[in-house]
Amino acid sequence: MKYIGEPITRVDGHEKVTGQAKYAAEFNVPDLAYGVVVSSTITKGRIIRLDTSRALAVNGVIAVFTHENRPKTAWFDVSYKDQDAPPGSPFRPLYDNEIKYNGQPVALVVAETFELARYAAMLVDVAYEATPCDTDLLKHLDAVRDPNPGVMNIFKPLPPKPRGDADQAFAEAPVQQSAQYIHGMQHHNPMEMFASTVEYGKNGFLTIYDKTQGVTNSLLYVTQAFNIPFNQVRVVSPYVGGAFGSGLRPQYQLFLAVMAARDLKRSVRVSLTRQQMWSFGHRPATVQNVRLGARPDGTLTSITHEAMAATSQFEDYMETVVNWTGKLYPSENATLRYKIKSLDLYTPLDMRAPGGVTGLHAIESAVDELAYKLGMDPLDFRLKNYTERDWTEKDKPFSSKELRECFRQGAERFGWATRNPEPRSMQRGHNLIGWGMATGIWDAAQVPARAEATLTVNGKLRVRSATADIGTGTYTIMTQIAADTLGMPIDDVVFRLGDTTMPPAPIQGGSWTASTVGSAVKSACDALAKTLFRMAKRLPKSPFVGVGFDDVQFIDGAIQLRQNPSKRVSLLEVVSRNRGRAVTETATSIPNLIKHNSHSRNAHAAAFVEVQVDEEFGTVHVTRAVTAVAAGRILNPRTARSQIIGGMVWGISHALQEESVMDHRYGRFMNHDLAEYHIPVCADIHDLDVVFVEENDTIVNPLGVKGVGEIGLVAMPAAIANAIFHATGKRIYDLPIQLDKVM
């Protein structure tokens, strides 16, 4: 293999930095009208009067859509369900006069220019009758309930049944640890705001440029909600300016843009503002209680980890928060619980490492605190309670688990062995220094996908699949896989994605794209290779008469006999004998369920962090961090490292800065712009180091890859909180750890 495993630079890099890569709101189509959304200013209640006359009076305003005049859309809930919809009744934009959450769209103003639409949106008069709202999870911890699991449960399992008797074991445990961890809400806030450009074509054919993590999902949603045949819509999304999960579900601008375009029989674009990026899915607020019991030798004897999270009044969003604890720690007595509470909010939505970053912060902080009570090094404690089997999944073995090696190599790179465990034992000038560590774990999933590979008449390889590249490097690694499978120079290979005319792929999330689409690309290229070989055998004077497929290899743009490289036929020659036609093969990759069902499949990581704390002011800097990752085969160390570094930065953000703060009197997010919603800036990021631990996995998928989108993030918050303890002697349980909590 020539390209897989090599640090190939991004194949789409040039297009991106030169501005040639187009995003949803940048497709300019003729005769475009612009829609601006008017958002609800109350959280709960009814619209009692909606006066659009002043807006309509503005010269250049084409229409104002509201619940009173909107065109008819589908009747049943099921028509509004997208591929990532949790159980419940999906939100329907402009459906009726009821307000379910703050920021809900209440009108769409469509005008000849964006500026006019924005001005007229100001002139829409909405009178509400507000009723008191409930948005504060902390006030309802006694009223939580079990979620309705629904079908997504396959990917987000509910907690396993308890084993043993955690309560009794805790009561009897000589060493005990218990604490509560509180997380606020967060919003994804990718750089690119949500937008849809709907091109209204001949006979009402719609070409939709949408910001999404899955064009197929947008297509399904639009065709169902508006009852349009599949062949009347095409969804295109070649580039996504970040999404982090926010594009897993179609957002309301898509619905509104399609509605307006169909009604006006005209192309329409709707873009949301940065403030409106706080008006849909988010990472939910969560409260967790962790109780651990151990014997003096460090053996965990009791685990109770319960999480309570907020959801909307209309859908039961859930994420996997507590199961990770069971996968990491093999206590004989364990109870894992996950409960939710419906509040007057929009439905939460998966946000990078959903549930994982939340749950692992709690358990990995608790484990650190317990290790201190036991007088053990936190790393030794983890080794003592290491497991090779996953009791949360019928005690299956892991398909591979090089976590021990992550601990060893990470600790070595960081210099953990020289650590003095005593809190407040290290100083630099007037600052306290602390070292902390934590474990990370994430799923290694694969789902079915389809891809198509074509050898063009010019001897170039074109591969397509309707997946997405949210900035992770999908374009690049798929190109590498295709090039290697057919032994072609990478410059002769082009991979395309993000178009519903391509073979379908699932939404891009859960770190499964590399394994899922990668397997499909490999299958399609394998199929193409077989076809090309068959054609080569039929060539006049073919050197391959009587030769089997396994006897040849694809190398340097040619097929050649393994035993005798002088016997070769170039791919160009093969295709040139195809009467001027390209050669195409399509294949579907399906996970090997027999292998999958007998194993638990996860990526692992260990994070080691140094913090510098100015105790007087409470300011914390992560001055150094090492993350060691075991995630199967690393297809491209450059893009993979970038994913891990990005995850680590996010971990710093999650631990120290990020929170959407709501004023619960109003049910409204108050810091809804990027000046006040803090994420790290360059000055917050210092020395970040990544170690990829070798891991050979023949179970997860034919490529042996596990995905690296979330594993770099999950261990960081606990490692940082633990380092702050080591620096200051202070345990801080609630995130984000802003300076007032430390000072």
Partner: protein, 349 residues
């Protein structure tokens, strides 16, 4: 965003005349604050008077040894000007702690003084805010002040000093967000203003105001006045100064608390002291009585604490921001130490 007309005068008199014209006209300089506020409908001028062509973009030495900073010189050009760096490093440091390089390249000295509070409720027209709606009327709450959303709401970034009106009531707990203005306050700058009635000067301490019962007014200029320049007096405290800014991330964030210090020393003894606080009040906070406590004292920590206590006298927390009282005191003590000792200054926070 409200439609507006646009003018771009080249003479100061013309600009002032334009402003006196139709109702709701506004000057625009770098636009880094005004445009943001227009996009969220907080500011709705009918007319924008672009002052970027006015001849107010130079930095000039004055006969008395001071410096005159044109209102249209950018924050970046001011901070990196050799004379400012040499004589008023406190000002350079304060400006460079603010916003981002891109914003400082656009932001002007005049605009910086009149940037508006970052109070979340002020920025969101769906929320009640006395500063925006002192005289509002709607069917539900009737006419009069809309109330202050931040009081009893989320007020992490809000004021702890000077919030009460003379009758003890509180109408607004917003802070003035400028870092530059805090340094200018410590430096005792003078603001040059022109208007229909001619030119006048305003000491920086009188430019901004406390909210009292009229929080709709940020400052004391008349609506038709233009700032032409900022004058720095000769004393710039180049030897003993610091600008210490504490915030929720290392850069590109407004101050939770900031401290500007300028000292003159005779050996170990303080002979002249200036201190101003940012992030704590509706204007940069200065208290000459507190500064007096340092004069003639040796520069040691036990002499700093009383200064901190004096500056924070009467401070009130409103919940989320209560930590600022302690934080400000600690910051004052640290900043004084940093100002005296160059190594400490470089060590920073």
């Amino acid at each position: 965003m409200h439609p507006f007309s646009y003018a771009r005068p080249t003479e100061v008199t013309e600009a002032v005349h334009e402003l006196a014209g139709p109702a709701r006209a506004k000057f625009i300089a770098g636009g880094t604050n005004l445009l943001d506020l227009m996009k969220v409908n907080v500011e709705q001028p009918n007319r924008l008077i672009d002052i970027n062509r006015l001849p107010l973009n130079t930095i000039d030495e004055l006969d008395n040894g001071g410096l005159r900073l044109g209102a249209l010189v950018t924050n970046a050009d001011t901070a990196y000007h050799p004379l400012v760096e040499q004589r008023y490093p406190l000002l350079s440091q304060a400006i460079l702690s603010a916003a981002s390089a891109q914003l400082r390249n656009m932001a002007t000295n005049g605009g910086n003084l009149f940037q508006r509070t970052r109070c979340y409720y002020f920025y969101d027209t769906a929320m009640p805010c006395n500063k925006r709606q002192m005289h509002h009327s709607d069917q539900i709450t009737g006419t009069g002040p809309a109330g202050c959303g931040a009081l009893g709401g989320y007020n992490r970034i809000h004021a702890i000093l000077g919030t009460e009106a003379s009758d003890g009531t509180v109408h607004c707990i917003a802070t003035h967000p400028s870092d530059m203005a805090v340094a200018l306050t410590a430096l005792d700058a003078t603001i040059h203003v022109t208007g229909p009635n001619g030119d006048r000067t305003v000491p920086i301490g009188n430019l901004h105001r406390l909210p009292g019962s009229e929080p709709q007014f940020d400052h004391t200029l008349r609506p038709d006045e233009l700032v032409t320049a900022i004058e720095l007096p000769p004393q710039g405290f180049p030897d003993h100064y610091t600008y210490l800014k504490l915030r929720d991330r290392s850069s590109y964030a407004f101050a939770l608390v900031s401290v500007a210090v300028g000292l003159e020393m005779d050996g170990d003894v303080v002979t002249n002291a200036r201190l101003a606080l940012g992030g704590v009040a509706h204007k940069p906070w200065r208290k000459p009585e507190a500064e007096q406590l340092l004069i003639g004292r040796t520069a040691t920590r036990e002499h700093f604490q009383p200064v901190a206590e004096a500056l924070l006298e009467g401070a009130v927390g409103y919940g989320h921001n209560t930590f600022k009282i302690d934080l400000a005191k600690r910051a004052i003590v640290r900043a004084l130490g940093m100002a005296i000792n160059k190594e400490k200054r470089e060590e920073g926070e």
